[in-house]
Amino acid sequence: MGLILEQVNKTVEGEMHLADITLDLASGSRNVILGRTLAGKTTLLRIMAGLDRPTAGKVLMDGQDVTGISVRKRKVAMVYQQFINYPSFTVFQNIASPLQISGVNKKTIREKVMETAKLLHLEDMLDRMPAELSGGQQQRVAIARALMKDSQLLLLDEPLVNLDYKLREELLEELTAIFKKRDCVVVYTTTEPSEALKLGGHIVIMDQGRVLQTGPTSQVYRNPASVDTAQLLSDPPINLFDAVLKDEALTLGSDLAIPVTPPFASLSSGQYRIGVRPNHLYLHRQSPEDMKIESTVEISEINGSETFIHFLYSGYKTVLHEVGIDSRKIGSDITVYMNPENFFVFSKKGELLISPNRPNTRSQGDLNGTNLSG
């Protein structure tokens, strides 16, 4: 049971918008569609909802072919980027509106509205008008309305993109909890890898109208099928280096020789691409196998509790993700350590060959946060 898309294609005026999308989204699952702007996320969502018809392919809902059926006859709820509410209705009426149309009795409506309002912390503002609410509250009302419907499919198209980051963080956490309790198919689109990771569940990575990879989010994160998925699901982007394996020696960049230890032993001579996530580069030696590289800081970016240090390593743009605050002057020297254990190895064409063993490759038994700042 759930939503199945079979070989869905969408062409508009000869231009390909979606190509061969085949997806199987189970009931009760949380699915995040991740991709840059114009990757085809919204187009796909509209086809799922029944707002658009695919040029070719089938859409099945709980085993039934719904391809040509209009949105009104499907049990679909949708939340948009913009905060869309009925401006002349109170918050209560807004939330109640999906039920009023279907003619449920007043008492049941009141109970359900109260329950949903509580879930989204709207119980104190039921009598207000949407225009009197802040952006975050308006979007909560829109989400509450979507939740009121007993829908098989709940679609959210970048619902948090227009909110302040702190509100986004809070609402995302609440939404994750709410989604976990629903037994409908939840589909959520976003451009931000961090949002996809926080929501968890399943991920669909899209690029230029195609699906690159699907699977449970943490699995895809740890085994990205290609360089492209690794890049899309990493913020800041994953570090990539060209490497050459010749005469039993793997050389990364211009001169960094990597010992060909067990994980790499299976590789034959040739060219490869090596990926290392920014949080696997360290400013302090973590283990004896660490390789040392030296460079100068291009910029150090700080988000409230983390620092991203950008530098060039033999011509490659490289980022180090450090926990804690570490303002460094542009141009200052840094020494960076990385462990080949953490390397993703991709073929020259970008397909994944080896991914690091996880989790707990270097657990210290007692985890008192070895890589904290200080």
């Binding site: 926080k198 982007p237 700080i302 409230g304 605050i325 657990s363 007692d366």
Partner: protein, 361 residues
Amino acid sequence: MAQICLDEIAHSYLPFPKTDEDYALKRIHNIWNDGGAYALLGPSGCGKTTLLNIISGLLKPSKGRVRFDETDVTELPPEKRNIAQVFQFPVLYDTMSVFNNLAFPLKNRGFDKAYITSRVTEIAKILELETVLHKKAEGLGADAKQKISLGRGLVREDVAAILFDEPLTVIDPQLKWQLRCKLKEIHEQLKLTLIYVTHDQVEALTFADQIIVMYEGWIVQIGTPQELFEYPDHKFVGYFIGSPGMNFLPCIMENDGVRVGRFHIPVDEKTAALGKKATGRLELGIRPLYLKIHAREMADSFQVPVQSVEDQGSCQVVTLAFSEHRIKARIAENDPAPESMAWVSFPKEWIRLFADDQLLK
């Protein structure tokens, strides 16, 4: 470039403000240094845009004076203040080429052609706009457009300050990053006074040397990213900076520590002394990053139930039930995730006490 002095500024949008509530800006008294990079950070409605408009001259404050160096500019309109501003959405002259857009402020001020050409070319090079100089501005991407807006500020050598009003709102995340680096680079290169308004902590903390955190019309803290993170002056700063925000636990002083529900948490002498002197509602604050999770019992650790563990890729966030409160701890990607129960400890050096929302120090 100039030093900016805000002398007892207050502003209300109402004609006859009475109470504090009527003021969008309560009382701002500050001096911002020449060549500094400042960020005004806060949620929507905190007054940051009001303050920016007062500096640019688009608004005249209800009270107080604005001075650039020694000149009182309170009464001067924006065009007489020698400031430049980059807006939330790219503001361009659609019918002009990129070159003419950049040259516009200079042409208006009557500079000669040779100077304009050389100056525009120089700025275009810094902003990496040389290749599109003779294209129309209309058809370019949002990031290029925003660079042009910035360029119109940079071409003038006499600007006292460049003001940014959430300039990266319309930019794709991948490009945001590049523009942020560019901006920082320009600041290092040209040593301009830059004032940047944003609700995004990454933008603020990356960009600025000094962050001005605003909340409900007040400046709640001015400090470096490190200061905001380690010593948030106000609960709001602790909550707003960092992801997830700081944990706060209502507590009372008890012997050499504090009591939270059924737990006694030891604190260091200095903190204890501060706590004993303080009056008002007392709370303990600690960053999720500094909480330690152990698989077995350690000194001063408390056994609590684990509510959830979120795998966020580069880290894991553990939610714990602590007495009747909920706290979050952030652990590394490779750390083993605790199961139903975990031992948590509070390192003394990272415990902060707050009385009535203010940090004790």
